[in-house]
Amino acid sequence: MPHLAVSDVRAKYATVEVLKGVSFSMEKGEVVALVGPSGSGKSTVLRALVGLTPPTSGRIEIHGTEIDYRSAAAVRAARDQMAIVFQQYNLFQNMTVFRNITLAPQRIKRRPAAEVRTEAERLLSLVGLTDKIHEYPDQLSGGQQQRVAIARALALRPEILLLDEVTSALDPELVNEVLDTVRRLANEGMTMIIVSHEMAFVREVADKVVFMDQGEVIEIGPPRELFDAPKSERAKDFFSKILRH
């Protein structure tokens, strides 16, 4: 049984259908990369998974249990298993790094304060920001904010980590520090879905690449196959443009 199975999922923003039947699945410990041109619906897949843009039809299953997105309790349960990191970090601007990381584990998951504190410190050292623990987001660079956002997501102890274009808003020189963190998580066996335009990085860490275009999955395969020998015309076209240099 796959860890996560997405089958024929459709979703809309207002009246525009942005996902037109998306299917893929992943095993525990796998890293799946969603790639494709902008507007292809990659980010919407992640938003659908966490119920921010609930699917209008189709099935999403975790461990074989279907998530009913009309039920608030089911969505809460699903969000307990997944954590998302956003392109724009979305750290709470009015809270320190420490409080950003500990708020949900302490208040929502009701874990003991001492345990949460130790874990926050461990996560901050994992992303290399131990000295920033009492800073506010606006005192950090974009790359630092994004690493805090990753630490915050990890503090929720998700089974699946969703990364939505986590380097797209960063200045080029800050991209690597974030990618290093993600690479480390991949090596530790974290189950992740990554939406990314960093093709070299995807090729390195992804076990499976899902190529999307205009709300549909066009092709799925290991990075080497998909990048070097895409079968579909649309994938060929996209990769030839993006991998040319």
Partner: protein, 237 residues
Amino acid sequence: MERIIEQIPRFFTPGNLWLLIESAGYTLGMTLVGCLIGFLLAFLLVYIRQTPGYWALPIRFVCIAYVEVFRRIPFLVVIYLVLFFIQTVTTDASLFTIAVIAICLYAIAYTAEIIRGGIESVPRTQIEAAETMNISRLQTTLTVVLPQAWPVIIPPAIAFAVSFIKDTALVSQIGVFELTFRGKELNNQGFSGILVFGTIAMCYFLLSFPLSMLGQYLEKRLATPRGQRRTRKVRHS
């Protein structure tokens, strides 16, 4: 003019001064109490108004209707409505209570729009982040949204209360012993209107000017996130 100068010693007696201070207290008291309660209830109204889901449509409609209706009625009419409505329910409500209720109802409608503007100034993505972390709507509002909305809400809310101090003169119409009412009384006792209402005008100025200054101070303080942080640290230490 000679008449005014001649009246001054007789006008500024300890008794009259005490009357003025007392009535200034009434004016300030009913404005502050009314606006404060109104402000808190306005929060509730905005929170209820933002309830998501189709089932909440009637509730949202009622909240919007309340704000839109009260913003379009003259304050004097609200005062009379409250007066006559309360009198049909109970006979022993004091005029001061009635005035406070009227101020409160009016303040809710105006500050609700200020609060809504402040809340909507917080990026939607902050709320989405909280949502995916299973933080409830109430908790998100209290811990994420409001702390970021204060700088937008507080200055205009204070400005509203300050300007409302003047408008409460209208409750003299139903006989609350506030400044304007006392002014009319003293005028009827034969004191020059210029002298009496000049003094009353001065009293209003003395009441609202310090509050305006407070508002400006807070506006500067809250203008940047760093300024906010300073206030927070001061409070914690």
